[in-house]
């Protein structure tokens, strides 16, 4: 595996070098990246199937007394598989999509650099290598977000991203610092050998959640995610939403499950609460959006919440030594990591295709694309059904497993957890249902109906190199949906690594039947369901066409006898979301709808205005920003001192430090 990894990273580096040359070698950059991704993905898959011991290596880079430790165990291998498989398909997509970039020099070199950073995070085995790779990943993605730097919203999105990423890395630095202080070394092997407990563990937990969580997008640290993901080019958005968030979750899993030792039960309480709030708020934000890419970015927040709920259950079950159930919850979480990477990438690539065909991102100006872009529409539809957690696709399988963990959550002994579990379950059910609402809106407004603007009417299907990756993702979504055990078998070594002694997860399952807890408790067979529906539908079509009628006639729409072919009468995205806005929006978002009617005699049109306030922004960020500005203004006085005052300050600082050293002797 290490050899394959080095080959892959070498290819990525070559792609980086090629990218510096510019648009002429665009195809080479993406092809090299795709090749690199395929190499690493296949090697990772073989590692998981073989389920052997971890491979370790040390490189003489970085800090002189530390070097750079690399380690590929089952967890790294799984995430390497996810990252590189998606990266391969997205790179193929980039062959045609990248040619539409206005400034390719701003994208081409940093795309492979981004992938290098992500891969190195996954194999880093000491804090230094981890943090350097993490920062590489952040900076490369930040530069990619700035690819469209001439637009105002991109610049503000990039600034916000930079601030949040810095805060996150700062939190991680402190977390690793505490872990290193406890174990005496920056290497992960030493940290594993010295489990941490008590107050220090709580601080590490909070810092890890803040650091990795802000990169993953948990509420309230998610505010950078939607602007950044929608400003970046679509294939980069797919990488950021589908893949980078997963790398962040890898960091969280590595710290909480591997480096800190056995967790106390209250970690489960906090993580479950955070996950549930993230899932529900993420999807509520998403329902209110009408920009296609922002909507998809908010759905990333929701799905991260779902994964975090699974992780919370794993922590809670593990703390109570219910290892079999912890394994189930962890399988659900990791399966959802894979599934989300697949369908989120698919959806962002579809959004990119729509943007290329129509130059529009606003759903209110699209429509009817199913006729002009049939293949994109079909794959996007599969992605939408998958993300709405509906059978027979893969999103349903991981959510079903999460629900099984919720049902068994009543066995947790602590009363706080007992009461929290059904609430979390209800919030998850609501979030899943609202996701379906949102994607009916997206598919209905963007692809169905009639075109709402000339650009939408004149769209044309994109080329094969853009459709093929989308079809690839759609195929994987379907396969994992009907035969999930293939992937769950691959996950077994990961579970054995993180939860030693838990036994094989989902022991009663076979290729056709998913039996997580025992045949008399619950069972599901995706293949039989889809086969049965297909057979019944085919029989119906044949029988009805043969025995009843198969005549068909085209005629203007009924529309209750008031046909109006103007496209303004079509339902818009805002109208579709209005019932949800009415029920939830008034409390969560302080949603207000106002109609401005012209006075009699005025000639301008009436207008309808909806205002929404982001609770995280109003409640947390705006006061914090105000406080920081206030402090900065007060401290500004330090700028305008005389030289003597400055010398006094330095003298005072020196004396204070000497005092501290003297007192602590």
């Amino acid at each position: 595996m290490l050899s394959a990894l080095s080959v892959g990273l070498g290819l990525y580096a070559l792609a980086f070098g090629t990218g510096l040359a510019g648009r002429r070698l665009l195809a080479a950059v993406y092809l090299l990246s795709a090749l690199a991704g395929a190499t690493i993905a296949i090697a990772a898959l073989r590692v998981l199937i073989a389920a052997g011991p971890a491979e370790v290596a040390t490189l003489p880079l970085g800090l002189p007394w530390l070097g750079a430790h690399l380690r590929i165990d089952a967890l790294s291998a799984f995430f390497l598989l996810v990252v590189n498989f998606a990266a391969t398909l997205i790179s193929v997509y980039g062959l045609e999509y990248g040619s539409h970039d206005a400034e390719p020099r701003r994208v081409l070199p940093f795309y492979p650099l981004f992938l290098i950073g992500m891969n190195l995070v996954l194999v880093a085995d000491d804090a230094f290598a981890f943090l350097v790779s993490w920062e590489t990943m952040s900076v490369a993605s930040w530069l990619l977000v700035l690819a469209t730097h001439r637009q105002d919203e991109t610049r503000s999105a990039a600034l916000l991203y930079l601030v949040m990423a810095s805060l996150g890395t700062g939190a991680l630095i402190f977390a690793f610092g505490i872990l290193a202080g406890e174990s005496g070394s920056y290497g992960f092997a030493a940290m594993r050998a010295a489990p941490i407990t008590g107050g220090k563990a709580a601080v590490v937990f909070a810092l890890a959640l803040m650091g990795a969580g802000s990169k993953a997008g948990i509420v309230p640290l998610h505010v950078w995610l939607p602007p950044a993901h929608s400003a970046a080019p679509s294939h980069v958005s797919a990488l950021m939403s589908g893949i980078m968030t997963k790398v962040a979750l890898y960091g969280l899993v590595r710290i909480l499950f591997d480096l800190t030792g056995p967790p106390p039960w209250w970690w489960g309480v906090v993580v479950l609460a955070v996950g549930a709030i993230t899932a529900l708020l993420g999807v509520l934000y998403a329902v209110m959006q009408h920009d296609l890419k922002r909507l998809l970015a908010y759905h990333t927040v929701e799905n991260i919440g779902i994964v975090v709920i699974g992780l919370g259950f794993a922590l809670a079950f593990r703390a109570n030594r219910l290892d079999g159930l912890a394994a189930l919850a962890l399988v659900a979480a990791l399966l959802h990591v894979f599934n989300h990477a697949m369908f989120k990438s698919l959806l962002f690539l579809g959004a990119g295709a729509v943007q290329v065909a129509t130059s529009e991102r606003d759903m209110e100006r699209l429509g009817g694309l199913i006729r002009t872009m049939p293949r994109t529409a079909f794959t996007f539809l599969i992605g939408s059904v998958a993300i709405s957690a509906l059978p027979p696709f893969n999103g349903f399988v991981s959510e079903w497993l999460t629900f099984q963990a919720i049902i068994r959550g009543s066995e947790l002994p602590q009363w706080l957890l007992k009461f929290e579990v059904p609430i979390v379950g209800a919030m998850l059910a609501l979030a899943a249902a609202l996701a379906a609402v949102c994607f009916v809106k997206v598919v209905g407004v963007v692809f169905l109906g009639r075109p709402r603007s000339p650009q939408a009417a004149e769209a044309r299907e994109v080329g094969n190199t853009m459709v093929a990756p989308m079809a690839g993702f759609a195929l994987v979504c379907t396969l994992v949906g009907v035969l999930p055990m293939i992937l769950i078998d691959i996950l077994r070594p990961v579970i054995a690594l993180l939860l030693p002694g838990s036994g094989p997860a989902l022991a009663g399952s076979s290729l056709l039947w998913l039996v997580p807890l025992g045949a008399d408790r619950s069972s599901y067979s995706g293949l039989i369901v889809i086969a049965a529906v297909a057979i019944l539908a085919t029989v119906l079509v044949a029988a009805i066409h043969r025995f009843a009628s198969n005549r068909l006639r085209r005629s203007p729409a009924w529309d209750c006898g008031f046909p109006d072919t103007r496209t303004e009468t079509e339902y818009t995205a805002g109208s579709f979301a209005q019932p949800i806005r009415r029920v939830f929006g008034t409390t969560v978002f302080a949603a207000r709808e106002r109609v401005h009617m012209p006075a009699p005699g005025e000639t301008h049109a009436a207008s309808f205005e909806v205002t929404l306030k982001d609770p995280a922004w109003e409640g947390l960020y705006r006061p914090t920003a105000t406080a920081v500005s206030f402090l900065a203004d007060r401290l500004n006085v330090v700028q305008f001192q005389t030289i003597r005052r400055y010398l006094t300050l330095m003298f005072a600082a020196l004396v204070a430090l000497l005092l501290i050293v003297a007192v602590s002797q």
Partner: protein, 316 residues
């Protein structure tokens, strides 16, 4: 009788009984309103008439519009065949547990909502958006009912739930009563019955489900109407299987006597359920659309209370 033959019997049974059930509900409502009402087999006649008619399609309708009636009906029919009716021994009952069943119905509804948006008229949009709002509010309530029952039975597999209720000394439990009421409220919302939606309305602004399928005609409309009827039968069967399973055959292989008792008990319970639904629909008025959120919030609340009461009585 072998189990695969029993599966086939159930598949045909649910399809055959569904229009009769709708006929009974309509007859009861008509009688209570002082009318004679249509005959009990009128829904069969309606379906046959629609099947033989030509489909009239709007120019903006896509292939999705034509495919969805078949897939939706197939999904709902399969779901109805999964719920145990006269016996717990079917193989089809194991291909999806309660949560997967609800999700399968969600898939069917996703398809119908897309069909509502397909033609691009405002009525389709209003129907789809309201239907999806009601469905999303019913999900937490349904999950609470599932959670409560699973807390007691330790399973979400429907045949196991029915068997548990039949063989164990469950006693009179308030949690089950609250769960039953909550499930009934969810069933009313999902089947678009009064007080949530009026299945017989002609006023577009009061429509939810009807507005969504306004553009369908001919054999497509027949399939969608049949799907609604089968969905009503499905929810009645679900309530019966989860809370009132007496008479179901649980020993396999199923003898002829047990089969007869099972079928008879099931048919009788369905008839009673249909009559009660008709009476209930006549007795109360339809709610304003945004009061439905409070109605389903009430169902959710009852579900939570049921779980809390179970926690209390199990924790003592």
């Amino acid at each position: 009788m072998t189990t695969s033959l029993l599966d086939l019997v159930q598949l045909i049974l649910v399809l055959a009984l569904a229009p009769l059930l709708t006929g009974i509900v309509r007859k009861v409502k008509a009688r209570l309103l002082g009318r004679r009402g249509p005959t009990l087999i009128q829904p069969y006649r309606d379906l046959l008439r629609l099947l033989r008619k030509e489909v009239v399609l709007a120019p903006s309708a896509s292939w999705l519009f034509r495919v969805i009636p078949y897939t939706t009906f197939a999904a709902i029919w399969l779901a109805a065949a999964i719920v145990p009716t006269f016996t717990t021994g079917l193989m089809t009952s194991r291909i999806a547990d309660l949560i997967a069943l609800v999700a399968l119905l969600g898939s069917a509804r996703f398809g119908l909502a897309l069909a509502g948006m397909d033609v691009g008229t405002s009525f389709g949009g209003i129907g789809s958006s309201r239907e999806m709002m009601i469905a999303s509010l019913a999900e937490p309530a349904m999950l609470m009912v599932t959670f409560t029952v699973a807390l007691l039975v330790r399973s979400t597999s429907l045949p196991h739930i029915s068997e548990f209720m039949l063989t164990h000394a469950v006693g009179i439990r308030i949690s089950l009563l609250l769960g039953l009421i909550s499930l009934a409220m969810v069933a009313i919302a999902e089947n678009a019955r009064i007080p949530v939606d009026n299945p017989a309305t002609h006023l577009e602004l009061t429509m939810v489900h009807e507005a969504m399928v306004l553009e369908y005609s001919g054999r497509h409309l027949a399939l969608i109407e049949a799907a609604s009827m089968v969905k009503l039968l499905l929810y009645l069967s679900l309530i019966v299987a989860m809370f009132l399973p007496w008479g179901m055959g649980i020993e396999l292989p199923l003898g002829w006597a047990a089969l007869g008792i099972g079928l008879g008990a099931y048919a009788a319970k369905l008839m009673v359920g249909a009559v009660l639904l008709g009476v209930f629909e006549t007795a109360i008025a339809k709610m304003r659309v945004f009061r439905v959120a409070e109605f389903l919030g009430g169902a959710f609340l009852l579900g939570i209370l049921a779980a809390i009461f179970l926690y209390v009585s199990e924790g003592l």
